[in-house]
Symmetry: C2
Subunit: 322 residues, 2 copies
């Protein structure tokens, strides 16, 4: 699928939308809807928000806007679209901001409007757009219009990653589902074994601290979102199959005290990851240093650990400055 060549329902090569267009955000009072409302406002658009408690109804916003952005929770996206997409018209641009793309994009394509599916790879509470990634499926939009829209995002420092809805959902089964499932399994294991997190944090290896911070971050957020991301991805079944097979294999190695078996499987995975491992080692070292320093400052209220030296050069490691 050539993503940028579909000129779709527009049927002309001139620009249909500009920052004089009106933007309607359905679900514009949620975190992500609110962030993107601000984004469009900052680019000069007139933005109308419809949410559960707004004077404007979704139907009104749908009818009156040149560009409509769906920013409702993932598990409600398709049902909301089923009600509103029939009101869309040729010449409108429909977009959504949800974590899966196949099903929402298919719903929007039922209209005659132009359609771009978006998935911001960042939360609604980020402090900067700079360096953030936006996955985008420009499935029905003229190349000129897509370049214009894309330019709005890149002007804010956002990296735009183009993909088809199917590619997107397959990638998210790794990027999101795989890691959410292992995190949910870890959280469940901690609970079932009655582990006191504060007690484990007393030992704080920096890696564990980061792992637990990422896990806690997920559990601090919406259960509905995480359930929907894993539960609604068409590729989740394959992830389960692989996790189960791996777990049975490792348990068997453990029970038979077959360390060689674990080592061999580990080496195969390391080879698959290839050069990435060395890069990851370096980048994670910077992260670990940052995390140790952060934890130290939290505990002691001091400003910083002493300057780091290249570990190859040091003879004696620096102690604390404070």
């Amino acid at each position: 699928m050539d993503l940028s060549s579909f000129s779709g329902a527009q049927g002309n090569t001139g620009l249909t939308w500009s920052n004089r267009s009106s933007v309607g955000v359905i679900g514009g009072q949620g975190e992500m809807g609110s962030l993107f409302s601000k984004f469009f406002t900052s680019h000069g658009f007139q933005v109308n928000v419809a949410d559960l408690e707004t004077p404007l109804t979704p139907e009104h916003v749908m009818r009156e806007s040149d560009i409509v952005v769906f920013a409702v929770p993932l598990h409600k996206t398709v049902p909301v679209m089923r009600e509103l997409v029939p009101l869309a018209r040729r010449g409108q641009l429909l977009m959504d901001l949800t974590s899966l793309k196949s099903a929402p994009v298919a719903e929007m394509l039922r209209s005659e409007a132009s359609v771009v599916g978006l998935h911001p790879m960042f939360g609604g509470r980020v402090s900067t757009f700079c360096g953030q990634t936006l996955a985008a499926c420009p499935v029905r939009i003229s190349p000129e219009q897509w370049q214009w829209l894309r330019g709005l995002f890149t002007a804010s420092g956002i990296r735009v990653k183009e993909c088809t809805p199917e590619e997107h959902d397959r990638m998210m089964s790794i990027i999101q589902v795989l890691f959410h499932l292992t995190t949910m399994l870890a959280g469940r294991t901690l609970r079932k074994l009655g582990i006191d997190i504060d007690e484990t944090m007393e030992y704080t290896s920096p890696i564990y601290r980061i792992e637990m911070n990422l896990a806690g971050r997920i559990f601090a957020q919406s259960p509905e979102l995480y359930a929907a991301i894993a539960g609604m991805n068409p590729n989740t079944g394959r992830i389960f199959s692989e996790l189960k097979e791996g777990l049975e294999l490792y348990e068997n190695f453990y029970k038979t005290e077959n360390l060689e078996g674990i080592i061999e499987d580990f080496q195969k995975s390391a080879r698959h990851l290839g050069d990435f491992c060395a890069e990851a080692y370096d980048e994670s070292s910077a992260l670990l240093d940052f995390s140790v320093d952060l934890a130290h400052r939290k505990r002691n209220g001091t400003t910083s650990c002493p300057e780091k030296h290249d570990s190859k050069d040091r003879q004696v490691l620096p102690a604390c400055r404070s």
Copy 2:
């Protein structure tokens, strides 16, 4: 078990060791052995190193040292101790630096020497001791001597976490085994599904980037170490049971499209983690910002993203400075 009251084989209250004591490091050319050789040297001790290619033999170092530190790979620790511990004498101090404590400490206790098991919760390549944690099992040492030894570590900014060998190994079944297993499962799944890591990194959600950096870091290191940490911990069996039970439960929820089931289990785990989740959200936000900035700098060679603003105050998010 009162960890600090065991006066052990010493039978006196005076100091037996000081920084005039000689320290022998068995495996002193490995990363961790080398780090602790430097540590003791920096504190004024005379340090003798025995390793595979050193002129000094382990037996010689064992006989001639007041303090002996075992710094050999985990899966070789007990076999090496079986050969050398019979050479130990009353008045010596035996320590080890391995990732499990029950079995190595039990081996060292076969001697009449004083015994302290250590587990540095950091790698041999850290750039500073400041804020790092050292788990310590002072199982056979006078309180005075332990305070002195402990003081050497804390003077370098190391946090010392005292525990019994059994407590230690139980905690490590969470801190290390649980997270290593989920990482190995994730690595195996990426490999089995033929996922191109570089392709996934194109989407780089900051959480995924950190997760993958931590995973890659593990796969960049010794397979023998990770196999031994999981394969030799007496509590690993329980971790497998819980992971299997959880995986079956989640797969069943997925197959029956029971999002409510996932949500409920998620909420129970979130309740177990309690207040930790909110703290984790804050601390991980700082980590994510750091990671996004790091990745941005790597990509663009620029020095920094624009200053962050409190997300509550901002009207418009800052774009890139460069």
